[in-house]
């Protein structure tokens, strides 16, 4: 994928237009060629193939089947696809419906109607395989290129999973078979077409290989299958196809068709085999040709590489013998089916390395059957030789300078190691057999595997799932349910308790709902700015809207949409907003700058399968940065044509756009604004009484008092609910008998006093005598100097004088300093740094009147 991003790809049609629609000015094609400039490879994808399509998340391309290819009037290449969806694309809450474990390789036949099946052909990445399976079936064990093969068992229509209908099942199967056939044909044909002597030889091999006995076929199919799954090969296959776009090619294809039919038969058999065998892979091409093809292309394509390939061909001939023997052992040994993966992989690698190997194998398959004894020695020999070859090849690898080649073998190697991993994991894998096969191998190779396994298991244990989700432990004792009326009332009055509907915000609710709904239906983007002081139900209303919309979307009244929420306060840095949005949308975790790039790309390019996104940005003002690029981007995306992004921005100040935003940002935010007025006392009263419906815990007057008080102060509904909750506590606290008690005026008044009374007066009244005298001395000094600031020394003199009047022993300077710092810690006084000692300046943190009031009362 990475290389793909780096290298430029050219998309061109394969073959002539099949038919054209005059009216629509479209012409259909049967295949498309993807040419990579850097690696000089060509891939052909034909209608009916399974493909990967670029998705929102680079790690998780979409899976689809190519249904149609056409070019429109404007010369844009289009493709019509049948989607498959991965588990990740299914909403979390629906995954439970499956009631079974889903492997990463399983996809679902997508029957959701909302998705656009017409995509730009340029988004096609490559072809893959999708195999239909019956529901009960185990996933076949995949040995190679896991990324390339998917399985489909069920279909998904946005609400529930269904078993594949026999019709689709057979269609899918058909598609797979067809695929196998096509590739086969092309292969055979190429080899005959672009002929080097060696190749010709091999071709004959292929021909002979097409009619072997059944036993041979089985093994062969296995070989070819495992081989076929390598990405490299597919590439080469494409190359082959592309090389021969001549009429003769087509003819050849026809000529070969009899063999083809056999191949299909073979394919069916193998498919059947796969089921009981659990031993991988699908449509099989007599793969030897494939190898050859590649070889040829190399030779043909790059003159300077010729010496290397010569080198290789030499080694090829050298190894031919061993390979032959090797394949014999494979065929003969009772272990063939459950071969040690490591061994097999090495084999595969071997094959990778030596294009012609497959051919020799096939040749050998007709050789006489060996005895078990000889098999053993043979095996030993071969494996030793193979090891030799590997090392040899490694040294030559760079010389060969065949980058593709190298990377291909590398990838196969890594995949094989992955398999080894899997092998270790699956408890039922026959350990004994693995071992026994290891015995055959040379000490060298066995050591190798020995070295490998511990390393791998170590990594395993250390590795943690990427998205480890933390959890607070469950409580042991069940939480008690409310027993009394008051407790019930308190539970309902808690801010977190979500009422069925939000009273007093019906209008705002409707406005926001209409805004989002219209945008959703139009499939466009837009912004809305919502302001209001804290506790006026902004966030709650928006959430309510989203809930209703989701409900509607579930009932198919609205197109489905994604809902993302970020909160400025819950971000450590404004730029983290990108990271969170991207993670919500695609599940990727990247750095902020990278996320910004990805999101910009996501919202600016027409995504095939993308739903509308509703983004709530809470506490917008905290996303402010000096350059305001976060805000700018957020509000710029919705204005793009393909973004399908609806933003609801929430903040406290009404004039935020004018105050802190630059013109270009404010302009993009637009003028769709809404402000939530603070609640009036009637609304607050309604809110409380609606929550208390059916619970007779409050006197009517008490609720009214609270509402009026809060409305006069802030209009914050949270405060109102908190006071009511506190009042129930006070009520519970003060009642003596078990008799049911109502929350009365007295309780509410006490709660209000507790919450809103100024603590200063009380603090001064409870201060010690000298602390009070010190405050008096401050007042006296202020009065004398006429400035509301004094040094400790000045106050001290007054203090001493006051003590004399009161007949008290005057305190020492140290004691006075202690008093001063105590009062400073309570913030009754504001102090300078204490290093100045006597010259420290002192100020009052409350008005002189308050101090006088507090001191006089006594």
């Amino acid at each position: 994928m990475n290389t793909r991003q780096q290298s430029k790809l050219i998309y061109s049609w394969y073959g002539k237009p099949l038919g054209s629609d005059r009216k629509l000015r479209t012409s259909q094609y049967k295949g498309i060629l993807i040419t990579s400039e850097s690696s000089k490879t060509e891939t052909c994808i034909q209608v009916g193939d399974f493909i990967l399509v670029e998705g929102a998340n680079a790690d998780q391309p979409y899976v689809a089947q190519l249904m149609d290819l056409y070019e429109d009037g404007a010369q844009h290449k289009h493709a019509v696809v049948q989607w498959f969806c991965r588990l990740e694309e299914i909403p979390q809450n629906k995954r439970k419906l499956l009631k079974r474990e889903i492997s990463a390789q399983e996809v679902f036949f997508d029957q959701v109607l909302g998705y656009d099946t017409d995509i730009a052909a340029e988004t096609i990445i490559k072809s893959i395989m999708v195999l239909p399976l019956h529901l009960g079936e185990e996933l076949p064990l995949i040995k190679l290129n896991k990324e390339q093969t998917f399985y489909v068992k069920q279909s998904w229509d946005g609400k529930c999973f269904k078993v594949l209908s026999p019709d689709t099942f057979s269609k899918l199967k058909e598609a797979n078979k067809k695929r196998g056939v096509i590739t086969n044909s092309s292969k055979a044909f190429i080899s005959s077409d672009i002929l080097t002597p060696v190749k010709k030889e091999m071709e004959s091999v292929v021909r002979s290989a097409t009619k072997p006995k059944k036993i041979d076929m089985e093994i062969e199919s296995k070989h070819s299958a495992s081989k076929s799954s390598l990405a490299k090969e597919r590439h080469s296959q494409r190359v082959a196809n592309s090389d021969i776009k001549t009429p003769t090619a087509r003819k050849k294809l026809e000529l070969n068709s009899p063999t083809r039919s056999k191949g299909r038969l073979l394919g069916c058999e193998v498919l059947g085999l796969l089921d009981d065998d659990c031993d991988a892979i699908a449509p099989l091409e007599p793969s030897a040709t494939k190898r050859k093809v590649k070889f040829t292309s190399d030779i043909l394509g790059s003159p300077p590489k010729i010496p290397c390939s010569n080198d290789k061909s030499k080694s090829t001939s050298e190894t031919a013998e061993h390979c032959q023997r090797f394949s014999d052992t494979m065929r003969l040994s009772p272990y063939t089916k459950v071969k040690d993966f490591g061994d097999k992989d090495r084999n595969l690698r071997e094959k990778d390395d030596f294009p012609s190997l497959g051919g020799y194998q096939k040749q050998s398959s007709q050789s006489p059957v060996l005895t078990p004894r000889s098999r053993r020695t043979c095996a030993q020999k071969t494996s030793a030789l193979i090891a030799e070859q590997i090392s040899l090849l490694k040294s030559h690898g760079k010389l060969a300078a065949e980058e593709d080649f190298l990377s291909g073998s590398d990838s196969s190697y890594s995949s094989s190691s992955e398999e080894e991993d899997d092998d270790d994991d699956v408890p039922c894998t026959p350990e004994k057999k693995t071992k026994s096969s290891r015995i055959f191998s040379t000490p060298k190779s066995s050591r190798k595997s020995a070295v490998h396994t511990p390393a791998k298991t170590l990594r395993k244990t250390v590795r943690t799932p990427r998205n480890a989700t933390p959890e607070i432990p469950k409580r042991i004792q069940a939480a008690q349910e409310p027993a009394s009326v008051l407790e019930e009332a308190r539970l309902r009055l808690h801010v977190s308790a979500i009422p069925e509907s939000l009273p007093c915000r019906e209008e705002e609710f409707q406005d926001i709902y209409n805004f989002v709904e219209s945008k959703l239906i139009d499939g466009t983007g837009g912004c809305m700015y919502i302001s209001g002081v804290p506790g006026t139900g902004k966030t709650a209303t928006v959430h309510e809207v989203i809930r209703c919309l989701q409900q509607a979307a579930e009932n198919d009244e609205l197109p489905p949409f994604q809902f993302v929420e970020i909160n400025g306060m819950k971000l450590t840095d404004p730029h983290q907003a990108y990271v969170q949005i991207l993670e919500f949308l695609t599940g990727q975790k990247v750095t902020a700058t990278h996320a910004a790039v990805l999101l910009a790309k996501l919202f600016s390019t027409p995504g095939p399968k993308r739903k509308t996104t509703v983004l709530i940005v809470d506490e917008l003002d905290l996303l402010w940065t000096r350059k305001q690029n976060v805000m700018y981007n957020l509000f710029d995306w919705p204005t793009q044509r393909h973004s399908k992004l609806i933003i609801l921005a929430i903040a406290n100040t009404m004039d935020l756009p004018e105050r802190i935003m630059m013109n270009r940002v404010a302009s993009r935010l637009g003028l769709t604004r809404m402000s939530f007025q603070p609640y009036t006392y009637k609304q607050l009263q309604q809110i409380v009484s609606s929550r208390l419906k059916g619970v007779n815990a409050f006197e009517e007057d008490a609720v009214q008092l609270v509402s009026r008080k809060v409305a006069a102060l802030s209009g914050d509904a949270r405060r109102c609910l908190d006071i009511c909750r506190r009042a129930t506590e006070i009520c519970e606290f003060t009642r003596q008998k078990r008799a049911p008690e109502m929350v009365r005026m007295a309780h509410v008044t006490e709660a209000i006093d507790e919450m809103f009374s100024s603590p200063y007066v009380n603090a001064i009244r409870n201060a010690s005598l000298h602390e009070q005298i010190f405050l008096k001395a401050i007042l006296a000094e202020f009065r004398r100097a006429g400035v509301e600031e004094a040094t400790v020394q000045q106050i001290y003199h007054h203090h001493v004088a006051l003590c004399r009047v009161e007949g008290l022993q005057s305190p020492t300077v140290s004691e006075t300093m202690a008093i001063c710092s105590r009062l400073g810690a309570c913030r009754l006084l504001l102090l300078e740094a204490s290093s100045k000692y006597l010259h420290m300046r002192v100020r009052l943190n409350l008005s002189q009147d308050d101090v006088m009031y507090a001191l006089r009362e006594e």
Binding site: P470, H494, P534, T572, V813
Partner: protein, 443 residues
Amino acid sequence: MNKRKLKESSAESAESISQVQKILRERFCHHCAAGKLFGMEQQYRHLLELLKRTMVHGESNSALIIGPRGSGKTTLLNHVLKELREMKQVREDLLEVHLNGKNPFLSGLLQTNDRVALKEITRQLQLENVVGDKVFGSFAENLAFLLEALRKGNRTSSCPILFVLDEFDLFVHHKNQTLLYNLFDISQSAQTPVTVLGLTCRQDILELLEKRVKSRFSHRQIYLMNSFDFKQYIKIFKKQLSLPAEFPDESFAEKWNNNVQHLSEDKTVQDVLQKLFHHSKDLRSLHLLLMLAVSAVTVHHPLLTAADLQEASRQYSTDSKANIVHGLSVLEICLIIAMKHLNEVYDGEPFNFQMVYNEFQKFIQRKAHSMYNFEKPVVMKAFEHLLQLELVQPLERPSARAQREYVLMKLLLDSSQIMDALQVYPNCPTDVKQWAASSLSWL
């Protein structure tokens, strides 16, 4: 015979004396562990109910405990927690996160920014083992991780969590108040039940909270005010000093307790306590006083006397700067007196060494009989010593350019302190004393 008996009893009393010392010291030093609560029954019930509701019903809450230093905020909390842990139902469920403070508290002093605080919370919630050895890449990841964890829970099934933020006022200064916003937001939404408790001594704490944070805070404030009068103070004194019933040597305990009873009725003791009470109602200062007194208890002096307390009080209330003045040489004293005169003449304006030296020279030449005329470098040395003792302080930071003689200084002593110190200064020459009393006496 008689001697042996004496030895026996003394050995026995030595045992009990050390016991007494141990018990009382523990009581005075770890004021939160076993100490009793005084005058805060109401607050105790309030807090207990609050926490119980969180633990039993899974109700989220937030509260602040506000009171001046030494008013027993932590003591109160520890008592409540101790009682909660004794309740079986709660003990198994409670998860505590303490930010800052004694044992495992979250404190503004330790968790100086949100990043550290989050790490500490993760550690204390033992969520880190969920992540395995994954090291948190960034602060952002950590925050997202924790919020995710807390969002997962719900009222009825998750373990309630108690967040204790000691020195709450310091958390207010963290950037954007992110931590507080998130904690309070959780307490106001249907997530894992949490109770956020803040301990602070600042009365203006609510004004420091950002408006959004303030709106999310439930405004429950528990005030601790030391609102007891002198009678209760005497009672506290008695309780703090008396030995518990389970003291091994019962007769000694009885004797000791009787003595304490007598002391509390003693006039001089009451005077001492009254004086302390007038200065500060803080129980820590009482503990300190008693600590000083108790350390005077020995085998030969097994019971506390009023004199012990008086002595302790005297020690406790002595002026620290005046104490330093006692240790000065006569020359240094003379310089301080000169500064005092300069302060009086120029009404507190700053002075420099040259002025002080001139003033000193005047005194030497006109008045002094016993004083030796020191050379200028010697006087300078003495002056620098005063500077080091921080009895004098330069107005500005000393710069390399300014000549030392002309750097402007201020005296950090009040004239009354100087006079008091001179009264007790041993072997002070009379002419110096006279000079100190009146700057004009030499005329």
